[in-house]
């Protein structure tokens, strides 16, 4: 196991290098530069700015300088927010996005697994259709729709919860967490149901049933582990998606998280900020995919952790 983890961490280095180089080149190929503005910037000023931010040097040289900077822990200043360093911006936004993603994941797992289980126990009955239909609504309701609707109901009509903010007032974290979590809850519910049905039809479960074990024991002791396998494969990408995709929810609820920075940076062509957030998100993706592979192995001892070969 340890060997596998070390091996995967070593694999992460070339992955990161490819991501860095590819992103570095891609963003410079994208039309429009960081200093384009409605009121035209004179060529003279542009020249000065490019000089200051080392944008005149040949691309390989820029990339080399950038990577040497990262190794020293220097991600450079943001182009759009000149007094902020990329490190500072990530350090402000990331904890908030993490917290949001954590609550959202709790919501998603809890609602999703419960609904999926309930549905799988009696497939093709009302006990199946009702939770699955609710889950479908969750999928049909993207967060840009779910968020405003929840705010209207609980924030403006009922006045139970704050309509915006993060940590300003009590309860302002509830609506964002539910909004972000609900889509994933729906996914998890469906994957759980599918996985459970798959497992419940396997020989060893039938054997257990034949032995007369109670349903509860069969489900929780024997079936659940295997049944959650598709959910676990999905979790890695889902958590990464929660983190990088929190942008819509952060915008709707005015939350100062990293997702907003990430999207703003892309639209502002804030090169250093795009690089910084991309590197961060790719590390998170690699990390969570690794975790999800490890959990999958734990849930299904028949999977050998590959990679030594």
């Amino acid at each position: 196991m340890l060997r596998f983890i070390i091996y995967r961490i070593l694999q992460a280095i070339p992955v990161l290098l490819v991501v860095i180089s590819a992103t570095f080149i891609l963003i410079r190929m994208a039309p429009g530069g960081p200093f384009d503005a409605e009121k035209a910037v004179s060529p003279y000023v542009l020249e000065k700015l490019n000089e200051r931010y080392n944008l005149n040097a040949p691309l390989p040289e820029q990339l080399f300088d950038y990577i040497s900077g990262i190794i020293k822990g220097d991600f450079g200043p943001s182009f759009k927010f000149p007094t902020r360093s990329v490190t500072e911006m990530i350090a402000t936004g990331l904890p908030i996005t993490f917290e949001l993603a954590f609550y959202a994941m709790l919501v998603a797992l809890l609602i999703g697994i419960t609904a999926g289980l309930v549905a799988a126990i009696r497939p093709n009955t009302a006990q199946d259709y009702v939770p699955m239909s609710v889950a479908m609504i969750g999928i049909c309701m993207p967060s840009f729709l779910m968020g405003p609707i929840l705010v209207l109901i609980f924030g403006i009509w009922l006045e139970w919860l704050p309509v915006s903010g993060w940590g300003y007032s009590a309860g302002d974290k509830i609506l964002p967490a539910i909004t972000l979590g609900s889509t994933y809850a729906a996914y998890i519910a469906r994957l759980t149901r599918g996985g459970m049905l798959e497992v419940l039809s396997q020989d060893y479960i039938r054997t257990a049933r034949a032995k007369g074990l109670p349903t509860r024991t069969i489900i929780f002791k024997h079936a659940l582990k295997g049944g959650l396998l598709p959910v676990v494969s999905f979790l890695g990408p889902a958590i990464a998606g929660l983190l990088s995709g929190s942008f819509v929810v952060e915008t709707i609820f005015q939350i100062p998280g990293l997702g907003r920075f990430y999207v703003q940076a892309a639209f502002n062509r804030d090169y250093t900020m795009i690089m910084g957030t991309t590197i961060f998100f790719s590390m998170l993706i690699i990390f969570f995919n690794l975790i999800s592979d490890i959990i999958a192995a734990y849930l299904n001892p028949r999977i050998k952790l590959g990679g030594e070969g």
């Binding site: 694999q11 070339p14 992955v15 490819v18 991501v19 590819a22 992103t23 891609l26 963003i27 190929m29 994208a30 497939p123 093709n124 699955m132 239909s133 479908m136 609504i137 999928i139 049909c140 993207p142 840009f144 729709l145 405003p148 609707i149 209207l152 729906a186 996914y187 469906r190 994957l191 149901r193 599918g194 049905l197 798959e198 039809s201 396997q202 396998l229 598709p230 676990v232 494969s233 999905f234 990408p237 990464a240 990430y262 999207v263 892309a266 795009i274 957030t277 991309t278 998100f281 790719s282 993706i285 690699i286 995919n289 999958a296 028949r302 999977i303 590959g306 990679g307 030594e308 070969g309």
Partner: protein, 291 residues
Amino acid sequence: MSSLDPSGEQGRSLWQDAIARLGQNRLAMLGLYLLAFMVIIALLTPWIAPYSYETQQLDLGAIAPNARHWFGTDTFGRDLLTRIMYGGRVSLAVGFIATAVALVIGVLWGAVAGYIGGRTDAVMMRIVDILYALPFMIFIILLMVVFGRSILLLFLAIGCVEWLTMARIVRGQVLALKQQEFIEAAVVIGLSHWQIIYRHIIPNILGPIIVYITLTIPSVMLLEAFLSFLGLGIQPPQSSWGLLISYGVETMEEYPWLLLFPGLVLSITLFALNFLGDGLRDALDPKASKD
């Protein structure tokens, strides 16, 4: 176990079985009929649409559903029913084509990686990691520049993004399956790898794949709306269900029907899709016949 039998006849009867079982699942058949209805409407739209999708009546503006406009009109005074019908053409096409692209790439990639395992698996999955990590927004902005404004490109772009998760899920399933006795037995019998993948692996992972397809289609339709909004994809006055919904959200308090009807149509389609998906999953389950 029937799936162990290497002869082709068993495979055929498996499919025949599946179709028969599907036919008995009333909900699944309802889903199938509803979907067929949507597709037929979409195909016939240019001939049966009550109004033109682009002709505006600015003085009229958004009016609630009435006898002339069953679904009401949008803020430009355009008939909403007509726009939903035309939007369905785009959404259904994007949903099916982009998902098919994602499906083919994702299943092949994941199955091969999981089946071969070892170093190949490591390399293939790290490539997936890399693609996950690239900034999506920049990717989209670049696609627009490099390829211009074609709708086909939109399908490809979406398919190219959506296959990643599919590949991970399939690989996880294949890894688990590979260790099972009947696959090991198939190897002992001397089946070729392709035969094993085609005859034993794929049918056994169909369940999760179908579930994931039913999840991918709606997310693809919504992604299309987002990309179209950014300028990659369809351009006004054309529309799609996703776009109609996202514009509907902005006016949901003033003109609720602009959200309600596109939302309903999309939901019905997705429900139908899911009923059919679940039915298919059950019908194709290689072990289900024994129950």
